[in-house]
């Protein structure tokens, strides 16, 4: 297949939520858009989707990318390939090359729809102070825009993606909504265990410095189908619209919602007016071509025929505007490979994740583990506060799936029991007694932008079709490590307020724990810590006030090339404790307005 030549108004590179949203806005206004997507398009048919579900069911390790077959020509990292770095670097067990000192613990997916195929769907807005960290707390940087300026785009993004929430429960730390606005769907019902947490949280107190903090439990905004509000039409599975019009409680949002009740970019792609839209998959963009005048003059891509063959054909395509929306890591790679947009030397730098810190315990009575979406409520109480001068903010996720990634129940329980010759009714009763009482709290911790945390490329590391693999340099600073120590303190006070004694708190870390590291307290104590990736790759092409310290302006337009936009979570200068997809889509919609102005 060859790419249809013609005059495109815009070429969008990458068909995840951000690229799809921009394509939707531009085509709605009659602009002609070509999307080049590196991955396969299997998810566009419902049969293809069901094949993903079967792949998931038969996967031994049910990690985020397990439903999606490996594709050597557009690789993704699998969680089981992420290893703790011992002495030797680089670690090359997965697609991403780890230079350390810590492994970057997150994965993403290169397939049509991007990582939204396996995301959880959590859609919190950022709080106003997240946009002015330098001014408020003397750490990180300020954004070139405020909450108030992004606010209208948050509303648009929530309707585009279909976010379920009640606005009166979402006004954390100055987040506000227009009076005539509400989310397109009612909140997802909180789980039974959320209410168990809420009883304890109401009594819990924790002291940091001279200040005592209380806690409360509120419902979580999430892109998952519930009961629609006026004016919103429910959207079901692509290719089977009658399926997935409500969340059905599959308890499997990550890695795959079998009925697509959870938003994925496939839904937006499916809604784009075909008269203005060309989609080419299996096309890996390898280079942006820069005109002598400094404008982008075209893209070079490699189109492979199948996963099984490294044969690819080189092609080029041209348009008026170029929009790089390939994912924080892949977009940075592409800019670096092209020598584009990098006069600030910020491309690839300031790589951030939300290190995910876990604590876990047994409740005295069953809470119904492994029911419902991965999380339905949060404790927002530590998303902002004066403590942010000293340590990281956290959004506290109340998991609905038992100890999940902390210990992998019930698999681990069964394997251990069988190995110890525990069988029959004893085994059944042990499982029945313990797993339904499992509580797991996750702390989504802020990480600050640091120049040394970065994505680079090198000739030594290329994939079968000759494109660069990402080389990642990563560490977690004391600011975030201290946030984990604080999280553990919050956790103890929460669990104790829930009537859980120390003997039933099972949180522990050993050098074999994922992301093992330590923190030295002021008193000189070495505290063991561990973290998981949140899958939130951010910061690698940040927006900014000045061309000297950022890759794009506030509209995500390159300072160096006036017809180039770089969009996605990589644009975020700081990240608060909010899962970033909603913010990235809001920023993309703001960028799309600027694109429409340019196109006239």
């Amino acid at each position: 297949m060859t790419v249809p030549q013609g005059s495109y108004d815009a070429i969008v590179i990458g068909a995840g939520p951000v690229g799809a949203s921009i394509a939707k806005v531009l085509t709605d206004r009659g602009k002609r858009v070509l999307i080049l997507e590196a991955g396969r398009a299997s998810g566009l048919t419902y049969d293809g989707w069901r094949s993903y579900v079967d792949t998931y069911r038969s996967a031994l390790v049910k990690e985020p990318n397990s439903p999606y077959p490996p594709n050597p020509n557009a690789q993704s990292t699998y969680s089981q390939d992420i290893l703790n770095i011992q002495k030797r670097v680089p670690v090359i067990s997965g697609y991403q090359v780890e230079k350390g000192p810590l492994s970057f613990a997150s994965t993403y997916l290169r397939s049509l729809g991007g990582t939204s195929l396996h995301w959880l769907g959590t859609c919190p807005r950022m709080v106003p102070n997240d946009f002015r960290m330098k001014t408020m707390y003397g750490v990180g940087v300020d954004w070139p825009l405020s909450y108030d300026e992004l606010q209208p785009y948050y509303c648009q993004a929530e309707w585009l993606m279909g976010v379920a929430a009640n606005k009166e429960e979402q006004g954390h730390f100055g987040i506000w909504f227009p009076e005539d606005y509400d989310y397109p769907m009612e909140r997802i019902p909180p789980s039974y265990s959320d209410r168990v947490y809420a009883e304890g949280a109401a009594k819990a107190k924790v002291r940091f410095g001279s200040r005592e903090y209380g806690m409360s439990v509120t419902s979580l905004a999430q892109a998952r189908n519930s009961i629609p509000r006026r004016g919103y039409t429910l959207k079901g599975a692509v290719g089977a619209q009658h399926v997935g019009q409500r969340c059905e409680g599959n308890a499997c949002c990550i890695p795959i919602c079998p009925v697509q009740a959870k938003y994925s970019a496939l839904r937006t792609l499916n809604e784009i007016d075909q008269n203005f839209f060309t989609l080419v998959t299996q096309a890996v963009v390898s280079r942006l071509l820069i005109d002598p005048g400094g404008r982008i003059g075209g893209v070079e891509y490699k189109r492979y025929e199948s996963e099984g063959s490294s044969q690819s054909t080189l092609g080029t395509a041209t348009a008026t505007l170029y929009i790089v929306a390939a994912h924080a890591v892949e977009s940075a790679k592409l800019l670096l490979a092209s020598g584009a947009a990098n006069s600030s030397d910020q491309v690839g730098r300031n790589l951030m994740d939300h290190p995910f810190f876990l604590t876990w315990a047994l409740n005295p009575t069953p809470v119904g583990a492994f029911r419902g979406p991965g999380q339905t409520s949060e404790i927002p109480s530590f998303r902002d506060g004066p403590f942010r001068r000293d340590f990281a903010a956290a959004r506290i996720d109340l998991g609905n799936w038992g100890w999940d990634i902390a210990t992998f129940p019930p698999n681990s329980n069964v394997q251990e029991a069988a190995a110890a010759n525990v069988f029959g009714k004893k085994l059944r009763h042990a499982l029945s007694d313990q797993v339904p009482r499992q509580l797991r709290v996750g702390y989504v911790l802020e990480q600050l932008p640091e120049a040394a945390n970065r994505v680079t490329i090198g000739r030594d590391f290329v994939d079968p079709i000759g494109c660069y693999r990402p080389v990642i340099h990563y560490n977690v600073s004391d600011y975030t490590r201290a946030g984990m120590v604080a999280a553990n303190k919050i956790s103890d006070s929460l669990f104790h307020a829930m009537g859980i004694g120390q003997a039933n708190i099972f949180t522990h870390f050993t050098p074999q724990s994922p992301g093992y590291m330590t923190y030295r307290t002021e008193s000189g104590q070495e505290v063991p810590l561990s973290f998981y990736g949140s899958g939130h790759h951010m910061g690698t092409h940040r927006i900014g006030i000045s061309r000297t310290d950022s890759v794009t302006n506030r509209n995500s337009r390159s300072w160096d090339h006036e017809n180039l936009y770089v969009v996605g979570c990589g644009g975020m200068p700081t990240v608060g404790a909010s899962n970033p997809t909603l913010t990235a889509v809001a920023m993309a919609l703001m960028a799309a307005d600027d694109m429409l102005t340019q196109l006239g």
Binding site: V53, D54, Y56, R57, S58, A59, L60, K62, P189, P190, S191, Y192, R195, V196, A198, E199, S226, R246, C247, E248, G249, N250, A251, C252, I256, P258, V259, T365, P366, V367, G368, A369, F370, R371, G372, P373, T376, N400, W401, G402, P409, P410, N411, N413, V414, Q415, A417, A418, A419, N421, F423, G424, K425, L427, R428, H429, L431, S432, V435, P436
Partner: protein, 194 residues
């Protein structure tokens, strides 16, 4: 066949499966193992009841009896399967309904046995998780390494029918979904809303 034959427990000798004619085997390429006899299936379910703590109707109701017995026959063969089933048949008879006696005999005559103990442990995991664990290295050294003896979820359906999920009073993630808002109701074993 090998010096280790004497290690295989000698239970009540019975043919675990009917041996079909070569003709019918040739015509049925999708069934690489021989069709188990009714007696073998009964013994397999009886053993599985003891290993899982689920009753025979619950096990038949998973739809996996044929698949799991077939898997066992394919991976470890007739002789080891026969030894396991005949031993379990004998101990269930010997225990005569006494649960403590059955537990003791299961530990001594099956789980402690180098040849059939690992098979029984694997059946526990297979029933609960749909997963076959590659047999221990010393088992493979002694009795042979079958190419099918790999750690895997043996089929999508085996995962869905895993007994671990009903054992913890829920459904397998990604299947048998209980419906919108079901997670807000009190779970099994709890009467009241908090």
């Amino acid at each position: 066949m090998s010096a280790n034959d004497s290690d295989i427990p000698r239970g009540r000798a019975h043919a675990a499966f009917a041996i079909p004619s070569l003709d019918s085997a040739a015509r049925a390429p999708r069934r690489p193992h021989k069709a188990p006899t009714d007696e073998a299936r009964r013994d397999f379910v009886a053993l599985s009841v003891v290993l899982t703590g689920f009753d025979d109707a619950e096990l038949w109701g998973t739809g996996m009896v044929e698949a799991y017995l077939g898997w066992l026959l394919s991976v470890v063969g007739d002789r080891h399967t026969g030894a396991l089933l005949s031993t379990s048949h004998r101990i269930i008879e010997d225990a005569a309904g006494d649960d403590d006696a059955l537990e003791r005999l299961m530990q001594l005559d099956i789980l402690a046995d180098a040849a059939i103990g690992p098979l029984a442990r694997n059946l526990i995991v297979l029933w609960y998780l749909g997963q076959w664990n590659q047999l221990p290295a010393d088992w493979r050294d002694t009795w042979g390494a079958n190419a099918m003896d790999q750690t895997c979820i043996i089929s999508p359906e085996a995962y869905v029918q895993g007994l671990a999920w009903p054992a913890i009073h829920t459904h397998p993630p990604g299947a048998k979904m209980p419906g919108y808002g079901s997670w807000a109701l009190p779970p099994h074993g709890v009467e009241e809303q908090p």
